[in-house]
């Protein structure tokens, strides 16, 4: 099965010989054993401290628990989708500023990009939660989490888009201007569509970061998966079990996003393979 990972492996290492293969088998067995022992130790600690008791886990047999977590998950997905969409829009705008022909605009684009990338998401959230209302800017709860998360991601989106645009061969621009196309047409019809395709996998991966940043929703009391988990914990006094289940849900969603990104990367590679 040809995919991005095996390509990198092939580029970095030569194919192992018989002795190397034996060493790999031994190392694999040893590390699996070590992981098994570690897992057993952790489970034992849970057992000893009573974390595996029925009372911590029985809440997961009732439908209302799952419904409540489901509502939280829906809140997380909505906030992440909105934040992701706004981050892409802002990112595009920042990149356009940064690539502008006017020096002042380029400078503003670069400065805003650095601000977005340099300031922690939580600070942006505090700004819209605590500072902005004092100046009359009162956002709905949903946007109090979605907007700061979007702003925080937009700088990275801008830089990812810019790297894609810069990766488009110069010949594409030369061919387009030779036809008499103007700068904006060359950029939007020829260069940007190709650059966007180059970085689509990275843009999808950025959604993972956006989704994880939405866990700050508890700050503004927005009902996301994490916030609802906290409610469950305080109702059932079941810290470990709830966090474990919620972590698994986050892992699953982010795993799906990463698979989507790999899928996009492989699709692009297949398109390019014709070139050889």
């Amino acid at each position: 099965m040809k995919n991005a990972n095996s390509d990198i492996r092939r580029a970095l290492y030569e194919a192992p010989g018989p002795r190397a293969r034996r060493r790999i088998v031994i190392a694999t067995v040893l590390s699996l054993a070590a992981i098994a022992v570690l897992a057993a130790l952790i489970l034992r600690r849970f057992y000893v401290t009573g974390q595996l008791d029925r009372r911590y886990w029985s809440l997961f047999t009732s439908a209302s628990t799952w419904r409540f977590l489901g509502e939280g998950l829906w809140g997380t997905l909505k906030a992440a989708a909105a934040a992701g969409a706004v981050a892409y829009l802002f990112g595009l705008a920042l990149m356009l500023l940064r690539l502008s022909g006017t020096r002042a605009l380029r400078w503003i684009g670069a400065a805003l990009t650095e601000l977005s990338r340099g300031i922690p998401t939580l600070l942006f959230i505090y700004f819209f939660f605590l500072v902005a209302p004092k100046f009359g800017l009162k956002l709905p709860t949903f946007w109090k989490i979605a907007l700061p998360v979007a702003i925080s991601a937009s700088g990275t989106v801008a830089e990812v888009l810019r790297s894609g645009v810069n990766a488009v061969p110069k010949g594409q621009t030369e061919a387009a201007v030779s036809l008499g196309m103007r700068h904006s047409a060359v950029f939007f019809k020829i260069v940007f569509p190709q650059g966007f395709r180059f970085v689509l996998p990275a843009l999808i991966s950025e959604l993972v970061i956006v989704l994880k940043d939405t866990t700050f929703a508890y700050v503004v009391s927005y009902a996301d998966l994490m916030q609802n988990a906290r409610v469950l914990i305080s109702n059932y006094d079941a810290l470990l079990s709830v966090y474990l289940v919620v972590a698994l849900i986050y892992i699953l969603i982010n795993y799906l996003l990463n698979r989507l990104s790999v899928f996009a990367a492989n699709r692009r590679k297949r398109g390019e393979a014709f070139n050889e």
Partner: protein, 254 residues
């Protein structure tokens, strides 16, 4: 009236063109005219400045001094005027530079659609006619990466023809091709020459240059050393440098 003007004045004219890369002078006082319907081949060793010269004609390379005139108009420095002039001069590149994300058909219609504002249907019909003319109409729905180099270069020529250019510049059109594909591209260019297209061709294909060109320009170290008819240039070149260059090629072919 403009017919009259172009019959007298050269279609492309370079007057005392100079260009530097830092302290390196890559074009030295180049003066050259190309008349309507003329085919001019520029030959010379690698690094002689022939590609750079070709690329200055539609300002893909800027010049430091001198003047470039196309059909009576001084080549503008920027903006709408420059775009309009570029639209009138086709360019075919060594590495084809087809738009990688567009189908073959879309590659040919994008110029007419964006620049000449030709209606879609008319642009497509003409594109198919041109693709047929260069023998790749079967590939119209594919993307460039699915075509051979020879096919891609023929599409690039069709893309350029779709703009109804007054002249076409060829920057080493066969240098990136596998040997078995060179012929198919040269055949297309030869056909264009027969139809009276004005062309400036930078090439390493000596037999082709001799067969197709009306005039040979020999360049070395950024200067034009010799301008001659093909027959005279290849049988009895005027300069020692040109003789040496042709002899190296002969030795290599032995």
């Amino acid at each position: 009236m403009s017919e009259n003007r172009s019959a007298l004045a050269p279609l492309i004219e370079l007057r005392h063109v100079d260009k530097h890369y830092g302290s390196l002078r890559v074009l030295k006082d180049i003066t050259l005219s190309v008349h309507k319907g003329e085919v001019v081949a520029i030959i010379g060793p690698s690094g002689s400045g022939k590609s750079t010269l070709c690329r200055t004609i539609n300002r893909l390379e800027t010049i430091d001094s001198g003047e470039i005139v196309i059909d009576g108009e001084v080549l503008p420095q920027e903006g709408k005027k420059l775009a309009e002039l570029r639209a009138q001069v086709g360019m075919v590149f060594q590495s084809f530079n087809l738009f990688a994300h567009k189908t073959i058909l879309d590659n040919v219609i994008v110029g007419p659609r964006e620049v000449l504002h030709t209606p879609k249907k008319a642009a497509e019909e003409e594109a198919m006619r041109l693709l047929k003319r260069v023998g790749v109409e079967e590939q119209a729905r594919k993307v460039p990466a699915q075509l051979s180099g020879g096919q891609q270069q023929r599409v690039a020529i069709a893309r350029s023809l779709a703009m109804h250019p007054k002249a076409i510049l060829f920057d080493e059109p066969t240098s990136a091709l596998d040997p078995e594909m060179i012929g198919e591209v040269l055949d297309v260019i030869t056909e264009l020459a027969k139809d009276g297209m004005t062309m400036v061709i930078v090439t390493h294909e000596m037999n082709f240059a001799r067969r197709v060109a009306d005039r040979i320009i020999f360049m070395e170290d950024g200067a034009i050393l010799e301008e001659n008819t093909p027959e005279a240039f290849f049988t009895e070149p005027k300069t020692q440098r040109a003789r040496d260059f042709l002899n190296t090629l002969k030795d290599r072919d032995k």
